[in-house]
């Protein structure tokens, strides 16, 4: 198997996965919302790409996905672009230097990334809005972060088995 063939299938799988995740997140084709938790599966997608292919592809995946997300997300300006790009770079660097490439590391990184994403989202868009914002974080953002991290399982498969 030459290099082009080696990269073709994982790349195709990830592109398809990102398209599916994008439409699942921003349309109601298959509502992912359970109770108060609304996941952001794209975080797990970016984490998986950075996990297997390093900081540069993580950066690119985060940047492109973030711009697409900002195109439809409510009043985020460039929040998704910046956070997903930083997540991609950070995960790529951490995996190369400090972590083993197994599902536990991927799950840990996805959980930390999702928590960071939702925490910063809450901090910027909700924390200053007044009212009981801590309860709002615990009721909406925290379960959403946990739920988002679970999408690492489907996102992990193409990188692990199509490499």
């Amino acid at each position: 198997m030459n290099n082009k063939t080696k990269t073709f299938w994982p790349a195709t799988a990830y592109v398809i996965m990102f398209i599916i995740m994008y439409f699942l997140t921003y349309t109601s084709v298959l509502p992912l919302k359970i109770g108060n938790s609304a996941p952001m599966p794209l975080i797990a997608g970016v984490v998986a790409v950075a996990f297997f292919y390093g900081e540069w592809l993580g950066f690119t995946a985060g940047l492109i996905t973030g711009i697409f997300a900002d195109a439809v997300a409510a009043n985020t300006v460039c929040f998704n672009m910046v956070t997903l790009m930083l997540i991609g770079v950070a995960v790529g660097l951490l995996v190369n230097k400090y972590l083993n490439k197994n599902i536990y590391s991927a799950l840990l990184l996805a959980a930390v990334s999702a928590m960071a994403y939702f925490f910063v989202h809450w901090l910027i868009f909700n924390a200053a809005s007044g009212g009981n914002v801590i309860t709002h974080f615990l009721l909406y953002y925290f379960p959403s972060a946990i739920y988002s991290a679970l999408f690492i399982f489907p996102a992990y498969l193409p990188g692990r088995y199509l490499k």
């Binding site: 994008y22 439409f23 997140t25 921003y26 349309t27 109601s28 084709v29 298959l30 992912l32 919302k33 108060n36 609304a38 996941p39 952001m40 900081e55 540069w56 950066f59 940047l63 711009i67 697409f68 900002d70 195109a71 439809v72 997300a73 409510a74 009043n75 985020t76 300006v77 460039c78 672009m81 910046v82 790009m85 660097l93 230097k97 939702f118 989202h121 868009f125 909700n126 809005s129 007044g130 009212g131 009981n132 914002v133 309860t135 709002h136 009721l139 909406y140 959403s144």
Partner: protein, 286 residues
Amino acid sequence: MRFFFKSRKFKIAATVVSVLLVLSILAHIAGGILSPQSDLLGTLVAPFQKIATNISNSVTDLFQKFESNEQLILQNAALQSEINKLNEKIADYDVLKNENDFYKNYLEIKSINPDFKFSNAVIISRDTTDSFGGFTINCGSLSGIKQYDPVITEAGLVGYVSQVGLTSSKVTTVLSPNISVGVTDSRTGDAGIVTGSVDVIANGHTKMNNLQRASAVAVGDYIVTAGGGVFPSGILVGKITNIAKEQYSSALYAELEPFVKISEIRQVMVITDFAGKNIINMPSGE
């Protein structure tokens, strides 16, 4: 990691990101314009989102029919396949009927308010991470939509256009803390300001703030827009479900159940012009 930050790739990436950031921030400062990259990609994906939303709506309609007729379907198991075919036809019929009802309501509102100029829009995406129900519609500046244009349905006020692209716009709803709508109680005439709050969002409600302690508002009262500035007067906003004292002041607030079920709407009307528009001020949340 040091090599990463010193590499040529990093410098190129940092330049690209800086340019995109500057464009985004400039667009935001310029006043509710989508950043060029978001606008371009939003325009590209909008047709696909519309298709996906249409599929989703048809599937939802079918499921709702199955749920409401569950008992009947069980009793008529032998006719299942025929019912499915009929349901598909009914779903198509319902889509047409809903469109018909929508235009009928549109004409009614238009006849009551002849000064209103409308642009009809379909919701093409919803931001699931926004707990205040923000969504994107399929009309933008090419359809004459501008920032702060009010968004309504036949049931009442939905919100306002917060960001405008060429072919799509983002809507901030009455559930959001970023909105400030001057309102009055239709029975007593007491004035207040409707602003969303995390305290009442769990019920899908919003808040009417700045009510005087001596005000005569009561549970069940209808709240309508006061008019002037951004929103025309007399548009239904919601019904009072609870009245309580503000935590840090002597003023009262009322919890409102919006007449529009934000999570269920599919089509909206954007009021692009009306008599008295922009006479007073813009929403203070922006």
